[in-house]
Amino acid sequence: MTKNTPKLSLRVPEPPARPGDKADFSHVQIDEAGAVARPDVSVSPEVTRDLAFRLVRVLDDNGKAVGPWDPKLDVETLKRGLKAMVLTRAFDDRMHKAHRQGKTSFYMKCTGEEAIAVAQALVLSPEDMGFPTYRQQGLLIARGYPLATMMNQIYSNAADPIKGRQLPIMYSAKDYGFFTISGNLGTQVPQAVGWAMASAYKGDDKIASAWIGDGATAEGDFHSALTFAAVYRAPVILNIVNNQWAISSFQGIAGGIETTFASKAIGYGLPCLRVDGNDFLAVWAATQWAAERARTNQGATVIEFLTYRHAPHSTSDDPSRYRPGDEGAHWPLGDPVERLKQHLIGQKTWSEDDQKAAEADAEAQVKAAAKESEAIGTLGQSRPSVKTMFEEVFASEDWRLVEQRREVGV
């Protein structure tokens, strides 16, 4: 028997930089925009294996759209996307502030990750079903869901469509293709697969799309999702949002040092793409590619979106305790809003003034919505009737709930 010299030792991965250290993204390997080939939508999954280790990018450093993945969008669509991202950011900023003002108990921003949800919202149809995490508010905003209604949920006020039952930001919006958010990480991904299986089973034409964070890919649900998606060839897009952090844990704690998250697809025989998540056009193109596969009975695609969580994890978090304060500034893939803006400016269909106007408009929209929602009330000032606490546990109350409701006197 070979006995070991030196003795065994336990490896615990550490991020390249902690508070006080210089931010370091030298490990992030980035392809040139346009450098990665676009396989035909009908290729067999193994053809995409190499793409797990590349990075699909369309917008180059000058904001030009290059290469085979350029979705060649018309200007109106580009502007729509840009405005939705700007609006999402404005919404986040205001709600984050609302928390500080004591108007709500909790909030979570998606700053720097707006392109992912917004582009997908526009590629997919509201009849498809999205199974989001808590960082895809862009889906709702891009589809024109009323901002005031989102705020009503955040404030748990009397007009909250989910009746004050959920933590802020756990929206539910069926008509907008937005599945009720779960506080439990990962659980929604295999559900999306089941939903997609149901659509296929019925011979319908709706597809599903699910999102999961880099950290949450470690959950068993993720494995179930990929297994079922592959075995039953479910029409679903499985999006991994790799924003480098899971609260205070860097992506290496989820296995991100050893390989890419996209490469998880390989072991299930699923096709995969690894995409610059801060590149609106790349997100669009990848989503379109995956959606077309799904719609043509070729099954699921795994997409890893590389991005960076600029904001704190939530209003309960202070990232300066575990990562360099300026780390975000060193993130090599830039800012999705800025990049799409530069693209439009480069096309001469947009200007800095247009941008300012869009920002002002977004702020105005958010402000108006806040006014509307806050007129109803913020957390604790207004809320749904207490008796709703006992409703919808089941389709109809059982005797226990009736008795308990009476005990509360409602």
């Binding site: 539910s172 919006a173 009720t180 659980t187 697969v193 089941g194 019925k202 297994t227 005797w399």
Partner: protein, 340 residues
């Protein structure tokens, strides 16, 4: 009266699935070995052949994935019936069932619903050792938003399963595998009688439902009320006879929702109560039943509510009959309660 035929519990359950699948394209069934093979207990036998490959199929060995896929389907609008091969293996699906299926209606303000049925063979008495004998029902009764149903005979099995599939909420449906092929009263040294001989095995061939939340009085009596479900219903009947006591034996059939009226009425009449189940005693569903009875019938009680249950140990292979709460143990509790 509709056509009836003699069925064992497996056939009755199979008939329920067959009828619902024939009548409603939204009903489908899947689970480990549940497709071509028809399930290790044959409950889904012939469904694939009859209804097609996509309506009754095998699933990967992932109880978590089976539950999650079923939940996604139910959210879509289907009425999936999933099989957990043994209740002992339901735990990997526990999170999906308690954190998701149970809460989807509530947390979405009624926007999304989850009408899934989770079938699973449970219980002991088959020399299955600790991983093929468990009775985890109380773990589901604690979860707001889940219904828990357990039949004790072919007639109810079919009617309850159809009701569960038609129910708009998630239902966990435990099938007492010791009763699949014949009633079993715990006298394990006597030959097992087939279902044929029992009235409750005369099952209508067509569709009917047994409503969730209604208990069945299996034996009327005036001295003591026995609350039981699944295999323990038969054991309780045998125990009453063995004890020579005029017991009222109530088969709960559905744990959540619970037929509290039937329970109260009976206990107020008899003034005594024994609760029986196979699961370990501590925090078993018997605890809930015993608490409810003393809360609601305290001034009628002549003796403490007794619990007869599995011991607080894993289920041991070699000690099947010392572990399994048989008629002698139940009879002793009845006698103790009569003396109290």
């Amino acid at each position: 009266m509709a056509d009836t035929t003699s069925m064992n519990m497996i056939q009755a359950l199979n008939s329920a699935l067959d009828i619902k699948m024939a009548e409603d394209r939204n009903v489908l069934s899947f689970g480990e070995d549940a497709g071509y093979f028809g399930g290790v207990f044959r409950v889904t036998d012939h469904l694939q052949k009859k209804h097609g490959l996509t309506r009754s199929f095998d699933a990967p060995i992932s109880e978590n994935g089976i539950a999650a896929a079923g939940i996604g389907m139910a959210v879509y609008g289907l009425r999936p019936v999933i099989e957990m091969q043994f209740a002992d293996y339901i735990y990997p699906a526990y999170d999906q069932l308690v954190s998701e299926a149970a809460k989807i209606r509530y947390r979405s303000g009624g926007e999304f619903t989850c009408p899934i049925t989770v079938r699973s063979p449970y219980g002991g008495g088959i020399f299955g050792g600790q991983t093929h004998s468990q009775s985890p029902e109380s773990l589901f009764t604690h979860i707001s938003g889940l219904k828990t149903v357990i039949p004790s005979n072919p007639y109810d099995a079919k009617g309850l399963l159809i009701a569960a599939i038609e129910d708009d909420d998630p239902v966990v449906f435990f099938e007492p595998k010791r009763l699949y092929n014949g009633p079993f009263d715990g006298w394990h040294e006597r030959p097992v009688s087939p279902w044929k001989a029992q009235e409750l095995a005369q099952v209508p061939t067509g569709k009917y439902t047994v409503p969730l939340g209604k208990a069945r009085i299996m034996r009327e009596g005036s001295d003591v009320t026995i609350l039981a479900y699944g295999t323990m219903v038969w054991v309780s009947l045998a125990a009453a006879e063995h004890a020579g006591v005029d017991a009222e034996v109530i088969d709960l059939r559905s744990l959540v929702p619970l037929d509290i009226e039937a329970i109260e009425e009976s206990v107020k009449k008899t003034g005594r109560c024994v609760v029986v189940h196979e699961a370990p005693k501590t925090s078993g569903y018997g605890a809930e039943l015993s608490s409810l009875v003393q809360e609601r019938c305290f001034y009628h009680l002549e003796a403490p509510v007794a619990r007869v249950a599995g011991w607080d140990t894993p289920y041991p292979h070699a000690f099947e009959w010392e572990y399994f709460p048989g008629p002698e143990r139940v009879a002793e509790a009845i006698k103790r309660t009569m003396e109290g």
